[in-house]
Symmetry: C2
Subunit: 146 residues, 2 copies
Amino acid sequence: MQHTPSPESFRELCERHGLAVTHQRQVIFHTLFAMHGHPSPEGVYELVKELIPSISLATVYKNLKTFEEHGLIREVSLHHRSARFEINASPHHHLVCLRCKAIVDVPAEDVGPIQLKKRTPSGFRVKRYHVEMLGFCGECTKQIEP
Amino acid sequence: MQHTPSPESFRELCERHGLAVTHQRQVIFHTLFAMHGHPSPEGVYELVKELIPSISLATVYKNLKTFEEHGLIREVSLHHRSARFEINASPHHHLVCLRCKAIVDVPAEDVGPIQLKKRTPSGFRVKRYHVEMLGFCGECTKQIEP
DNA sequence: CTAACTGCAAAGTGTTTGCACTCTT
DNA sequence: AAGAGTGCAAACACTTTGCAGTTAG
């Protein structure tokens, strides 16, 4: 999944996931995988439109959602629909439930220090860091495997 | 800053930051600090409205922004305005520029493993973790201190 | 043929803005 | 008095939805 998959494997992928192989879906998928970085829906749309001028933004959104639901892509920072503010002044990290989106603070002392083994690329100056531990909270774990 | 500050200290805080001490601001601030967890603007608004029924949501937003700009609170997950998707299948972490919001991937091998020193609270089951290193990219560093 | 998918436009969210009015300083 | 802050409504940006028409299986 590291480089652009062949048309063949996309067909297989869709079969495996029970998805229809439409032209739009195929182009969106390949465009997405050819883009590096962290593309936005708009960004994907702009590029796809060059190949399929009639495509609609809604289709791009729908497909991104589908891909995400099937684990083919991932949203970079899981955002709750609205902004969330942090008042806690003491340094801490987060446990985030992938199911119910609950956020639980973990004091920084409870997490070992992280080390960067290489120099940060391109002169990036790190001010602070923050660990997000993703998983399932007690409640959700129960509901998944009762 | 861990528990609700006294009215006195809020006045001082405002003075220190050159902010006017308005009733609304004071109530928003104290409400915010009395809430645990990771309140949303709406959530703050709902509570503040009980004390100041005439307050507007816009005022809450403006104050949250002001507080954030002065470092009194922090947004939990810095979200770019639109969603960002990740295609990169190999495990990695992120460098995030606080100024231009650029995201740079850092291979997981370049970051030492993190250890939880205590048991996760309330049966949380961690599936994976993700380190966000926040700072300033080379470009922005130059522009801040030329 | 049926279910899945697309395109369109309209409706939703969450957030920001412009402006007149009102308070702090 | 001047500048900062407030409330309102309108504007915004991003995302979702309903639906009729199209396409894949």
